[in-house]
């Protein structure tokens, strides 16, 4: 009897304490000192444990692999997407023993014909290169046509799935999840409760970034205003290579009141950063940690974070899986749970408090409590 009472007291105390802890968290989360800042939604509960605990590095021997990389426009050195894929291969060279001279890299020209893409893949495959990684969804049709003729060659494609070709491994990402956190960052950092998005080309892929950003910002601050601009319509891929357009679009968003700008516009992002710098607002980079990128060094003080799309992780994991001759364990989608997307904190603009919030949202996404849609609602 006595034991039961004691237990009850203990439980009640614990509950009260837990309640207190929760309560004391709320006011600071909903803190709205300045009138124009966002009224933030309650913070998510802190993440229990690091969900992306460092995996013990797996060992495999890749010295026999002849790796082929078919880049999209830009190739190695584009400080973005292609470079990220190249970094994954470089890591494989360093850690899996893939021989440097066994890595063959070819890259696409602007506006090339479909037959050029097919030929590039076929060239690699008939040279005995295996595995072959095609960087970019533009290779989807080429792989669909070529892969069946080389049934013993392993192919992978970044950002696309190729139906009907069993030897093509898709390496796709949950960009909307990474962008969700970017939206949260934007909402916390905005002083006017008004944020903007600049998309390079209005393709379904870039709309995933927009969708996640929108949902993240709304989740953190339900009243927030989110403006968007796309540089070019689908089909015109110059939107990824036009800093001047990026600049003009960013200026437009700033004059509309946005004071945090997130871009998913490839090389046009540089224009977004310069506009942000001129106007004295913040910007968020994309794909790789842009704060540390040489090409945008001049503007880096406006970059508060970057949405990381770890093409390098996916490429490395793929090569590791090929070296181990087991592709079955490769994730279907590279999302938060496998470290396929993330955010950067270089530059010191993301403080510990905000990081705790971000980790909280991240934990909810990983656990499935928050489902991030990859289609824009508006």
């Amino acid at each position: 009897m006595r034991g039961t009472v004691l237990a009850a007291v203990a439980v009640t105390t614990a509950l009260t304490l837990a309640g207190c802890a929760k309560d004391s968290g709320a006011p600071s989360g909903g803190g709205n000192a300045s009138g124009s800042e966002c009224k933030l939604a309650p913070k998510p509960p802190a993440a229990v444990a690091s969900t992306t605990a460092a995996k013990t590095p797996e060992k495999a021997d890749g010295s026999a692999l002849k790796v082929g990389l078919a880049f999209d426009i830009g190739g190695r050195g584009d400080a973005s997407f292609n470079d990220s894929a190249a970094a994954g291969v470089d890591k494989a060279v360093a850690e899996l023993g893939v021989k440097k001279e066994n890595v063959k890299e070819l890259s696409a020209g602007p506006n090339e014909a479909e037959s050029a893409k097919q030929t590039r893949i076929r060239q690699l495959a008939s040279d005995g290169v295996n595995p072959i990684i095609a960087v970019g969804f533009a290779y989807a049709d080429a792989l669909k046509a070529v892969a069946p003729s080389f049934p013993n060659t392993k192919f992978a494609i970044v950002d696309a799935t190729v139906e009907g070709a069993t030897n093509v491994t898709p390496l796709v990402f949950a960009e909307e999840q990474g962008s969700f956190l970017t939206g949260v960052i934007a909402a916390y950092k905005s002083k006017k409760c008004n944020v903007g998005f600049v998309g390079g080309v209005e393709t379904p892929l870039i709309q995933k970034f927009e969708a996640g950003y929108y949902q993240g910002a709304k989740a953190a601050a339900p009243d927030i205003k989110i403006a968007k601009k796309y540089l070019t319509p689908a089909g015109d891929f110059t939107g990824f290579q036009d800093p001047a357009k990026g600049n003009a679009a960013a200026q437009g968003l700033v004059s509309g009141g946005s004071d945090v700008l997130y871009h998913a516009a490839g090389a046009s992002g540089k224009g977004v950063f310069t506009a942000a710098k001129t106007a004295g607002v913040s910007a968020i980079g994309v794909d790789s940690d842009q704060y540390n990128q040489k090409t945008v060094e001049q503007e880096r003080d406006v970059i508060i974070s970057s949405m990381l799309k770890r093409v390098d992780v996916a490429v490395f994991d793929y090569l590791l899986a090929v070296a181990k001759n087991d592709l079955t364990k490769l994730p279907k989608v590279f999302d938060f749970s496998v470290g396929g997307v993330g955010y950067s904190t270089s530059g010191g603009k993301i403080d510990a408090d905000l990081q705790a919030v971000l980790e909280g949202y991240k934990a909810q996404i990983v656990s499935g409590q928050i489902k991030v849609s990859d289609k824009p609602t508006s």
């Binding site: 020209g109 590039r120 060239q123 969804f137 989807a140 049709d141 696309a160 892929l205 089909g235």
Partner: protein, 373 residues
């Protein structure tokens, strides 16, 4: 019109040689061996699907360059072929996917739709030019930008588009609309509709050289006022030339769409129109010359892959294409002057004296003849 071998063949040969020299220099400066590079470019023609790719690419370029050339014949600069072929391609694919017809007829209807769509889109600048005097250069450039937007709109999933992986397409064409090619085994497949360019080429030659319409077209190009005085309806000529130009441009994308892709995706290559302008210049609006230019262009496109394969910067090909167009213009001028000098000497010998006046008149006629050819 007598075909002067020296004035027709020499300039392009000179131009290609000069462009090769220029690129050789660029290659040397970038630290590559020009002989290895050129060797690789030539050697790859015999490998894999290269030869077939060149023929297929050439056929596509030929159609679009013919479209440009028809305008050029009457000094109309239809820069809008770029927009016309994209609008035509996407419209034709949407219609083709929506209807069911027996094989053969289906492809024929798709071709007709493409012709009509291309011509209709070219009708806008034609009417603006004929009735409002709007420069076709400006209006077609702007319509190119509008075409991009229209195509992007039509490809939206809630309009006519279909989302496939991370790409937007017009949806797959049914089997009955496919046009079989000429299979050459491992060497690839020549597009069946590649024959269209042969038909169009012959038609173009007949139209220009054997019909009254062609004569009036060229006459309007030489001198609009003189043609009008001779009873040619200038407005009718402008509209007709633009419509034919747009119609041929509309066919451009069909060989690869009906022969291989069976769907129009947002990745469909852009820029055929601009290559077409360069090729028409290179071929001097001549049916045979354009064929040469189109194949050369396709060969250069293709060799970019071979260069990349041996680690030579493939951008060298773009330099080469630019250099060829530039030097072909210069080369024609040089050859024209050489002929002029030769003519002067000949006339001088005939008259027994070097009379400047007589020599001046003679070459003027020669150059006019050369230009129209």
């Amino acid at each position: 019109m007598k075909l002067n071998l020296r004035s027709v063949v020499l300039p392009p040969v000179l131009a290609v040689a000069f462009a090769a020299l220029l690129c050789g220099l660029a290659l040397l400066l970038s630290g590559a061996n020009p002989f290895t590079a050129f060797g690789a470019m030539v050697a790859e023609v015999g490998e894999g699907t290269a030869a077939v790719d060149i023929i297929n690419g050439g056929a596509t370029y030929y159609l679009i360059a013919l479209a440009v050339a028809i305008g050029f014949q009457m000094k109309l600069f239809n820069i809008g072929v770029e927009g016309q072929y994209r609008i035509a391609a996407v419209t034709a694919m949407i219609v083709g996917g929506a209807i069911t017809l027996p094989p053969g007829l289906h492809a024929l209807v798709i071709m007709l739709v493409a012709i009509v769509a291309g011509a209709l889109y070219a009708a806008i600048p034609a009417l603006l030019k004929a009735y409002r005097g709007v420069s076709e250069v400006i209006s077609t450039i702007m319509l190119n930008a509008i075409a991009l937007g229209v195509v992007a709109f039509l490809l939206k999933p809630d309009v006519f588009g279909e989302l496939r992986a991370n790409s937007l397409t017009t949806g797959e064409l049914p089997e009955s609309a496919h046009v079989p090619g000429i299979p050459l085994g491992a060497a690839g497949t020549i597009f069946g509709l590649g024959l269209l360019s042969v038909v169009a080429g012959v038609g173009y030659w007949v139209l220009m050289n054997r019909t009254r319409f062609g004569f009036e077209l060229r006459a309007s190009g030489e001198s609009a006022t003189a043609a009008t005085a001779g009873g040619v309806n200038a407005k009718r000529m402008i509209i007709a030339a633009m419509l034919i130009s747009g119609a041929i441009a509309g066919l451009t994308a069909l060989p690869e769409l009906l022969g291989r892709d069976h769907t129009f995706t947002q990745n469909f290559p852009q820029g055929y129109g601009f290559s077409g302008i360069a090729i028409a210049l290179l071929g001097r609006n001549h049916a045979g010359g354009i064929a040469f230019g189109a194949l050369l262009w396709a060969f250069l496109d293709r060799s970019a892959l071979a260069l990349d394969n041996i680690g030579v910067p493939k951008e060298i090909v773009t330099i080469m294409q630019g250099a060829i167009v530039l030097s072909v213009v210069v080369a024609y001028e040089i050859v024209r002057r050489m002929q002029l000098a030769a003519e002067q000497r000949r006339v001088g010998q005939q008259l027994g004296t070097t009379n400047g006046n007589g020599a001046d008149r003679q070459p003027a006629a020669t150059s006019a003849g050369g230009g129209a050819e």
